[in-house]
């Protein structure tokens, strides 16, 4: 009997955890759906969407370029030393471009935006929640989801694919820098390989991934901030825990979603 109880308790915990997680996923999905639908009723909040594009997109350009350049450079370096063993350094352009466009671009852009914009979203909305600013919106008959979440969703859906494209371009140039300028691969061969090996499906696949990642990041980060008050921790501690959860959960979900999407897109 005791053995049964000892086994039962972790099983109950696991079951409860699984049910809670699935419930939370459902709530996040509904939260996103509501926020997305509220982008469109007139008057469309152009100013707020532009402000968020500036914050999520424009202000991330530098960090995305920096990450893109170094990722491309590392790919060029690693790729060259791998390919040189087989005497096929000519395909370096294909290797760098395809890894960037299909995988590295969408994933690393999303991770960078989570670090820069996602954590800020969770913290900002969380602080608004604990200082009753969200309640104040409700008392003024202003829908907090439309006011706070919808512009962020719209901005993320616009910014993520553009940032991913930028990451890819800068990454390919980074690969050229190490592969051709430093290690002597023929530049014309490098770029012609890039052009010939990248099909429209690869670019489309990368964009689909970036849009899905945008949905995941903005939903999780806004959700964590918006429901800070339902946590067991209160006040500043609650906001800090929400921000941490937002970052960790978004990163994990990005990698999980990346695997699922890749298996469908290949």
């Amino acid at each position: 009997m005791e053995l049964f109880v000892a086994f039962k308790s972790p099983l109950i915990s696991l079951g409860r955890y699984t049910i809670d997680t699935v419930k939370d996923m459902g709530r996040i999905a509904l939260f996103f759906a509501k926020g997305f639908v509220l982008i469109f009723p007139r008057p469309v909040q152009f100013n707020k969407i532009l402000q968020q594009i500036y914050f999520i997109g424009m202000k991330s350009i530098f960090v995305v370029c920096l990450t893109g350049a170094f990722t491309g450079m590392v790919l060029g370096l690693q790729g060259y030393y791998l390919l040189v063993k087989y005497g096929s350094t000519g395909v370096l352009g294909s290797a760098v471009a395809l890894s960037l466009i299909r995988e590295m671009g969408p994933v690393l852009t999303a991770v960078m935006v989570i670090a820069r914009g996602g954590s800020a979203m969770a913290a900002e909305i969380g602080i608004m929640r604990i200082s009753e600013q969200i309640d104040a919106l409700e008392t003024m008959d202003i829908d907090p989801l439309r006011f706070l979440v919808s512009p962020r969703i719209a901005a993320a859906l616009i910014s993520f694919p553009l940032l991913t494209a930028l990451f890819d371009v800068v990454g390919i140039l980074g690969g050229y820098l190490t592969g051709s300028v430093l290690l002597g691969v023929n530049p014309e061969l490098y770029f012609s390989r890039v052009e010939s090996s990248v099909a429209l499906m690869d670019v489309a696949g990368g964009f689909i991934k970036s849009i899905v990642f945008a949905v995941i990041v903005v939903s999780i980060c806004c959700f964590q901030g918006y429901f800070t008050h339902t946590r067991t921790e209160f006040g500043a501690k609650g906001v800090s825990m929400s921000t941490t959860s937002a970052v960790v959960l978004s990163c994990v979900m990005i990698l999980v979603a990346d695997y699922v999407l890749t298996s469908f897109l290949l």
């Binding site: 008057p43 608004m128 200082s131 009753e132 600013q133 309640d135 104040a136 409700e138 008392t139 003024m140 008959d141 202003i142 006011f147």
Partner: protein
């Protein structure tokens, strides 16, 4: 009595393991100011949040014009919400918006009027609350008192039918505190809105409220008029009120109303026992609302404070001067008959000048100050309340100045 506008019936609310509201029954009547008083942490703010629908009761009902909020359709609740405004205890101002944008937000987001009208209404409200010089600043750059006033401006800019104030004066200095009370009372008279104020400011809220409810142990311990609560025999109510009442009026620095009433009772006893005569003089500032409109509520309350100081300086040590109402002072003159009290008023009128009331450094153009006085000599067989109501009826303007 007219049917209640808002009614809470057996409202129960648990917050975590705490039962904050334990069967609250309360009625709020249209066009009245109702104050909710009670110790900290007894659920006054929670009660207010149930009224506006930010919190739902675990059991019981909140009725608006006899209809339960929970039974209302979404569109009805939306329409109802537009009738309400809420002033939060911690202001809940949007820290990423300027003062102007904060006040304009309920108008711009709900597209209720044109941009020009928004501009006009917001500027008007900021001017009334003496905030027009800081309209470009952010809430984090403001003092606590200023933030409170911005929150008030934001609540009143939509001309709501029902305004809920959650401790609107906490953290303000005495002049601004009474300026806020006078503003609430003034707006309520002019616009006729219904108001619910959660407050600790006793007896100040009694001056402006028509009804008072005291919450204790999750239930309404007392509900009635300010006069009734001050005469309540309930030991819990009495100890709460007396615990908060200061012997001195916070704004004017003169004796408080309760101390004045005690002094009146003592003089009456002396008259009946030792035949020592005494008179009372009721001094009312008749046009404080005009000063409000021209120079703002802070200027009007400063004028009242200055006037109280002037009266106090013109009385003897044995006289008692106390705050009788929002704009009324009473002077109790022992060993004085009606003729001598009349001479006292004449002396006040002779000595009073505009510089004593209004700050000479401020722009005072268009301001007017009118005082009326009512005099009564106590008789051995007269009752204090009859004497007070009599003196209120016999008031005549005895001083007027225009600048």
């Amino acid at each position: 009595m007219a049917p209640a506008l808002i009614e809470l019936k057996d409202t129960v609310k648990w917050l975590g393991p705490n039962k904050v509201l334990d069967g609250v029954n309360l009625r709020i009547y249209r066009g009245q100011i109702t104050s909710i008083i009670g110790q900290s942490g007894v659920g006054k703010s929670v009660l207010l949040k149930h009224i506006i629908g930010l919190l739902e009761p675990d059991s019981g009902q909140v009725l608006f014009e006899g209809k339960a909020l929970a039974a209302m359709k979404k569109i009805e609740r939306k329409a109802l919400k537009r009738k309400f405004s809420y002033v939060f205890q911690d202001t809940a101002l949007f820290d990423f918006l300027t003062v102007f944008e904060n006040v304009a937000l309920p108008l711009t987001e709900n597209s209720v009027c044109s941009e020009t009208e928004v501009n006009q209404r917001v500027r008007g409200k900021l001017h009334q609350l003496d905030l027009h010089k800081i309209d470009n600043q952010y809430p984090s750059q403001l003092s606590g008192g200023m933030k409170k006033r911005v929150a008030l401006a934001r609540a009143l800019v939509t001309d709501p039918e029902i305004v809920l104030f959650d401790e609107p004066t906490t953290g303000l200095d005495p002049i601004r505190k009474t300026a806020v009370h006078s503003m609430i009372s003034d707006y309520q008279k002019r616009l006729g809105f219904t108001s619910i104020i959660v407050s600790h400011e006793i007896p100040d809220v009694f001056f402006i409220s028509q009804r008072v409810a005291m919450i204790d142990g999750g239930r309404i311990r007392f509900e009635g008029t300010p006069e009734e609560i001050q005469q309540s025999a309930d030991p819990v109510v009495r100890s709460f009120i007396q615990g908060l009442e200061s012997p001195h009026d916070e704004l004017t620095g003169i004796a408080s109303q309760s101390l004045g009433q005690k002094r009146l009772a003592r003089e009456m006893f002396r008259l009946q026992r030792h035949a020592r005569p005494f008179s009372i003089v009721l001094l009312s500032v008749e046009n404080l609302e005009d000063v409000d409109r021209i120079a703002g509520h802070v200027a009007s309350q400063t004028a009242l404070k200055n006037f109280a100081t002037f009266v106090k300086n013109n009385t003897y040590l044995t006289d008692t001067c106390f705050r009788y109402d929002m704009n009324k002072l009473m002077v109790v003159l022992p060993d004085t008959d009606a003729d001598q009290a009349d001479m006292f008023c004449k002396k006040l009128s002779r000595n009073l000048n505009t510089d004593a009331i209004f700050d000479p450094s401020e722009d005072r153009k268009g301001l007017c100050f009118a005082l009326s006085a009512g005099i009564a000599q106590a008789q051995e067989d007269s009752r204090i309340d009859a004497m007070l109501s009599g003196v209120e009826k016999r008031q005549n303007i005895f001083y007027e100045c225009r600048i």
